[in-house]
Symmetry: C2
Subunit: 908 residues, 2 copies
């Protein structure tokens, strides 16, 4: 065995991440058989290249694959065989009947198992008194890990005669009865479909009575005699495990994790070993490193005189694994070696199940260990330091989703235990927030100015609430889905947000939940990652940026090709983004800048202008505000790149929505209520998403583009003179659909910019670029023409997705669930980019754009820019950068590195 | 000259329709010179092939081209020269300065003109007493005809000395003074920009005083001395004509007619001939056939002792041309021959200007004659009968727009003279209507049932008004643009409609215009082609379908490749469409069927259903209605093809919009007002166009698709048994964006259909097809996948245009005017298909679809299906058919034939 440890690491640990590829090819070569012993498949695995390994894994399932692999390493694995996923498919195609060929192969494999175990799988008609009885386990094992979702039956092969035979060998009546009862219980539940509660009713010591009762329960439920014949038990068990592929929780799990329904599960039939067979026996689960911290050394739990499920069941408290060292020092040392050996072989931290039967160690399973984000980072760094993996592998192994989640603060685990949960809504923007309840955006802002922390609670939010939302720690709304105004804006700002919390009734200065009233000023705590709302202050813990995190991120930065920029609209956002590793700002939206108090008045005056002159004078008021915003942002950015999108909001969003707010606003603006109402009505649109916004505004009101350009270039000039930073702002025109639109607006921008630059004698220091969003399908179709006029493209994948699919995100949330339920869509196209539809437009636009203008800078600034799945796709297209919300910058850096690595390894 | 008449027709008459092609190519070859005498360019024209001819036309403008051409035919054209459009461009590029090269060339050409005319263009410094003075006209002449839009100046070369010289030759003081005053008036107005009203103030007899006054007016206005030097006059006149290219009415005309701003105008300088020079002189305009009826023979008017503008000015009543026969029989007979000769040469009916100076006939202009629709049809048929053109040419010559307009009824010309115009709105749907004013859809329906004709007058319409709109003769609204609900629905129904008639204030039972009140029941007359509203009953005349129309249409049908179907939602529409030559129904919308009184209740019950069972029972009520609608339609269609679109309307459109209508409807449905309001709010959408509609409804409520399929197939079965018609309905799924949507809904359709067909034993008689609208950009991108599941595509170009451009038609009407004004868009993409954007998607979808499914039937059913420009494009793509509103079927047939001919002649 020590020899085996010294064997070279021949197997490429990379295959773990090669999922979904080359899956069925090898299975076809291997066809014609449905059952393989571990030693047979172990031999094939030894000789397989990466491609074949994947096929083997698909065929044998994860568990079968690892058992065969461990077996081929010479490790002590109870002998057994795998009934392949192809058999499962055959079973389903055959209307849930096991075909004779499969049954024959199973019987033949049992015969071989009798030989290798030197035990006898009992036959009622072939009684063999001398041999030790062979009992087997039947376990599911799909290609993709689905822990606990499908069924397992132990101790198959038991009946009264076998029990007597066992007793004659072991002389331990309690043990034998225990084995018998465990078998009957599982078999009745899983094959006989007797309810668990009914079986649990007879909880207590094993007894002859229980044997009788469990068989009766089986017979009552199935209207069939209980099968005493072990072969029959085995076949029924295999079928039951195949059927468990389709149980509701397994289906749900697959939907959650994107596992294909057609994969099917393999079944592993394995000689039983007994951890409950006297003093020198036991069972345990161990990790090769700490799953919490990643610390090196085996961690786990151990239970003497027990079978595997006893550790999980929690009826007896298991011992820490260190106890094993005292109790069975040889076993402990053997296990330590095996743990290290497996870690080396798999080149990853392992989660290992083992059983000791009368002093002999058996390995029942090994798999990649689940771990905390902290552990994942530490293990990655340690493995590279220890020379066990390359940086590339370490980066590839990390789960970007886990890293992302660890970026947000969360509630303290212990504090949460005593917190009072009062309601649940939809998790709309991650992180947690604690603060005083406030119901009005203005009050929120004022309170925050006095140093308070607040949570803004609204029935729903509207654009007028922006300032309050920015001031608040978090936002809670009673209405709206995860694509509602509150949700979208909060995510953009990186504010924690819970929406659609329908249980709360929001009043003027309080909200109620059932009998409870929460008044203005009372503390609440909300969790935007879970949607939960708590009364009072729950202690939060911030995200930790361990040194390991920094090391891993620096590797990712080395390995990625794609730039990672942030979407940031304020100096604070920019500061945060830079801290998280953004290389610049890929999307600076200017519309929020208009919502601040003094500014919204000016923009409203502009909207109500009757003449160009009036409009220009209103815009003149806005200019200093815009310029100072940009100055602040540029100062933080120093000379890093920034893409600034010109105003992209339908004008009506600046006007009051509700009837009540008309009066004071009209008064403030010095117009009559009816005049204001007329303007509101005039600007109302049937489909605001497809209305008068983006560059269409500038065609109508070129003065807006002019003012914004003045602000941007003016700020760049001042920042250059004051700090010496050479800012090169990229001025982006939104919602372009035609090259003539670009020409028209570009002319305004360049004339304005050139004049300003000339006036301030900055020709050699202040540069700028002009580019467009590509977010209207027509812009993608005509990308070559548009590219001839601009220096950069930025794909606005949110709108592009909406228009290409022809549904608005807000409205679609109502019916998309039907699409998932009916399996029409596999995923939310607003979360992951739709490669074949929207992606095809992007791909051809990139190609067309570059064909005309090889120096065209191309980025992505939609929410997909922070989604690892989508980043893979964008990396393939060789765009220059993605831009995402600051919190997602680290995950994007990681995902970009993974995408580039995967591309080079030809994984896609 | 008679020899010239006998010359063979060498020039291809086809070039008239070859506009816009090869335009600048030849101009470039010809560059280096800016001025050509008629004889020079006439020589080039003689030797030119079609391509060069077009270039010549661009270079010389229409007038110059025809003058040169006539000159080359040996016809008597006053000698002269053309200053090219290139010179005009040069003038504009040169900041409105005539470059020395052009001036030199003009002077050289004047010298040649002196030689060929044997007259002298007076030079102040080179007084030549013996020669007859040469006066010239300076006329604009762009490539595209822009009648009356630009300027002309006659009698250039006049001054006091020349006047004396003229008098010495002619001895007619009145004539000379008349010539002098005419010159001064035109020159002061056009070069000096003296206002016409000021000049008109001095109306009356020519006098020496007037000479002085007009020069003074010129000098006061220009602050320059009046130019006495003829050369200076000529140069100023040429510049003024060039400037007139940019006058507002010319710009407007170009925008209206899609003429490029960059063409520029040529200027023709020509020896003056004087129709006012005594008894044997005169001037006239004649057509080679009647422009009203198309009858053969010269028609026109003649004025003795007059110059050209006198005919137009209407100060003297011209004589019918037949008088010329008596007065100047030789001239008449010569002119008749020339007229026939020109018709043969140009192979089209001509509009000829001529002048007789002292018994000598001069031709001043010939051009293709404008004519009425009736005349156009007759001339086409006669020319083919006379062997002058082929059917192909005859079909190509017709103006589809003119034919379309002639399809609609209009008000009697004489009746209109005495009609009282009370208001004007936007012409939203052509035709005229007369009826009693009604303000409520329900009353409209009831009144119509008693045999009255009504006009429905509303502030704006909503879907609830559908039945009233269908019942009414016409619809008039105070609000909304030509894409408002009223307009779109009316066009769909072929109802005459005027919208946005803002002057009328609509009350409950009356409307007012200024002081006038029109009460319910009063008669009004509206013209949907002009937007005019008249008080009382104005007599209307219906469209005439002359035998010539039928002949021309039969040629078009022979020559076209593209099928022409109609959009028709009722048996009446279908009947009308078939009469106008539709080959079938390309789009039968089913949503209007739901709005009839008994049905809307059932559909509302369906919407309010809480359970599937309730929903099914509501749908069960609708089934018989739907089935009987289809039966009626199928019976009219006999066995012709029909494409039926499944329900495509957001459900909220079936619920009341206004607060007032909630109460009665809730009562009617047996629910509380708040329940109904809740449903209304729940269904409200942010962007209804991109909401829960089309096939998305069937994913949520498959029962609707099932019910509709039952109705369609059930009707087909019954029509087969009752009448023996083998209907093959094409069931169309709207708003598809993914092949899985198609699979899901197709399964429902085919299962339902197959069951019904099997049950009724109609397998061999009742067939059906399943297909999709392609109207969402994603469907176009994924057309290959979708094609694998369907038998036909129908491009819904309205929605495809909206989503590809990313603007909704309703909202875009507000800002698109800015786009036209600023020259960003050249045309309305909802009127003509956007070939390069939307068209590119269609093109690739056609290719992809056919690549997968070569038998795929492909049609177009958006409003572009009836637009000649768009039909050209669709014909190029080789789609199978276009479908349009019944009224547009003839124009589509004609346009399809023209498109096919043009394709074969390689015109596009």
């Amino acid at each position: 065995m020590v020899e085996a440890f010294k064997a070279k690491n021949k197997i490429n640990g990379m295959y773990e991440i090669f999922e979904n590829v080359y899956v069925f090819q090898f299975a076809r070569d291997f066809m014609g058989r449905f059952v393989y012993s571990f030693s047979e498949s172990g031999e094939v695995i030894k000789k397989s290249d990466d491609e074949k390994l994947e096929s083997m894994r698909s065929l044998l399932g994860g568990k079968g694959f690892h058992l065969a692999k461990m077996s081929s390493m010479g490790l002590s694995v109870p002998c057994g065989f795998t009934i392949t996923t192809e058999a499962c498919k055959n079973y389903y195609e055959n209307n849930k009947v096991l075909c004779p060929k499969i049954i024959t192969e199973i019987y033949e494999s049992v015969k071989k198992l009798e030989v290798s175990s030197n035990k006898s799988f009992f036959h009622l008609d072939q009684y063999s008194a001398n041999k030790f009885p062979l009992l087997v386990s039947v376990r599911s094992g799909a290609r993709s890990s689905m822990p606990g979702m499908m069924d397992t039956i132990l101790n198959i092969g038991m009946n009264r005669i076998v029990a007597e035979r066992l007793l004659s060998h072991i002389k331990d009546e309690v043990f034998v009865l225990d084995v018998y009862i465990r078998f009957l219980q599982m078999f009745s539940e899983i094959v006989g479909e007797v309810s668990k509660s009914e079986l649990d009713f007879y909880n207590g010591r094993a007894s002859e009575d229980k044997v009788r009762i469990f068989k009766k329960l089986y017979e009552r439920n199935t209207k069939k005699t209980f099968p005493e014949e072990p072969k029959e038990q085995l076949i029924e068990a295999v079928k039951a495990v195949f059927r468990s592929w389709e149980n509701p929780r397994a289906k749900f799990y697959r939907k959650m994790h994107g596992i294909s329904e057609s994969e099917g599960t393999a079944v592993n039939v394995q000689m039983m070993v007994f951890g409950n067979l006297g003093k020198n026996s036991g069972t345990g689960v161990a990790f090769s490193r700490s799953p919490i911290t990643g610390e090196k050394g085996i961690f786990g739990e151990f239970l003497e005189k027990a079978q595997g499920e006893d550790v999980v069941a929690g009826l007896r408290t298991p011992l820490p694994l260190s106890e094993l060292k005292n109790k069975m020092p040889e076993i402990y040392s053997e296990f330590s070696m095996i743990s290290e050996y497996l870690e080396n072989e798999y080149r990853d931290m392992q989660d290992i199940e083992f059983t000791v039967e009368r002093g002999k160690l058996y390995l029942l399973q090994t798999r990649t260990a689940k771990r905390s984000a902290e552990a994942a980072l530490k293990v990655s760094v340690d493995f590279v330091r220890e020379g066990k993996t390359t940086k590339q592998e370490a980066v590839l192994r990390l789960d970007p989703g886990q890293i992302e989640r660890s970026m947000y603060p969360c509630f303290d685990y212990h504090a949460l235990k005593s917190a009072k949960l009062i309601a649940s809504g939809l998790a709309a923007s991650p992180g947690v927030a604690v603060g005083r309840t406030v119901f009005c955006a203005k009050i929120a802002k004022d309170l925050v100015n006095t140093g308070e922390k607040v949570i803004l609670v609204r029935r729903e939010t509207s654009p007028e609430d922006i300032e309050g939302m920015q001031a608040a720690e978090g936002i809670l709304t009673a209405c709206g889905g995860i694509t509602s105004h509150a949700a979208v804006v909060a995510r953009g700002m990186g504010r924690c947000c819970v929406v659609g919390c329908e249980k709360i009734k929001v009043g003027e200065t309080s909200f109620t939940v059932d009998e409870l009233t929460v008044n203005e000023g009372d503390f609440i705590s909300i969790d935007g990652s879970s949607g939960k709302v708590y009364l009072g202050e729950v202690q939060a813990v911030g995200a930790k940026f361990s040194p390991d995190f920094e090391v891993v991120m620096s590797w990712a930065d080395e390995l990625r090709r794609l730039g990672v920029y942030a979407n940031a609209d304020s100096a604070a956002d920019v500061r945060h983004a830079l801290k998280l590793g953004a290389q610049g700002v890929g999307l600076c939206r200017t519309e929020h800048m208009f919502f601040k108090e003094e500014r919204i008045k000016a923009i409203r005056e502009m909207i109500l202008s009757k003449t160009d002159l009036e409009r220009q004078s209103a815009l003149k008021c806005l200019l200093p505000f815009q310029k100072s915003d940009f100055k602040e942002i540029f100062s933080v950015l120093e000379s890093k790149p920034i893409t600034i999108r010109l105003l992209d909001l339908p004008l009506h969003e600046f006007l009051p929505e509700s009837d009540e707010s008309l009066e004071p606003i009209a008064h403030d603006l010095g117009v009559s209520k009816s005049q204001l109402l007329e303007a509101v009505n005039l600007l109302r649109e049937f489909n605001p998403m497809m209305g008068h916004r983006g560059c269409r505004l500038f065609v109508s009101y070129p003065e807006i583009a002019k003012m914004q350009t003045q602000a941007i270039i003016g700020a760049a000039v001042e920042v250059f003179f004051e700090f010496g930073y050479k800012v090169e702002p990229e001025i982006m025109i939104p919602l372009v659909g035609d090259v003539e639109e670009v020409r028209f607006i570009k002319k305004i921008i360049t004339e304005t910019a050139e004049n300003l630059i000339l006036e301030s004698h900055c020709e050699s220091f202040v540069k700028y670029k002009v580019g467009t969003m590509i977010e209207v399908p027509r812009a993608a179709v005509l990308a070559d023409k548009i590219a001839s006029e601009v220096q950069f493209f930025s794909f606005g994948t949110n709108d592009l997705t909406q228009m290409t699919f022809g549904f608005s995100r807000d409205d679609a949330s109502k019916f998309l669930n039907n699409y998932y339920e009916k399996n029409i869509y596999k995923f939310d196209p607003f979360k992951h980019i739709d490669c074949e539809g929207v992606g095809a437009l992007i791909k051809s636009a990139v190609r067309m754009g570059r064909s005309i203008n090889s120096r065209l800078k191309i980025g992505v600034c939609g929410e997909h820019g922070g989604d690892p799945e989508s980043i893979k796709f964008f990396n393939e297209l060789k765009v220059d950068y993605v831009s995402c919300s600051p919190y997602r910058v680290p995950v994007a850096r990681l995902a970009a590195a993974q995408a580039e690595l995967a591309r080079n390894y030809n994984v896609f």
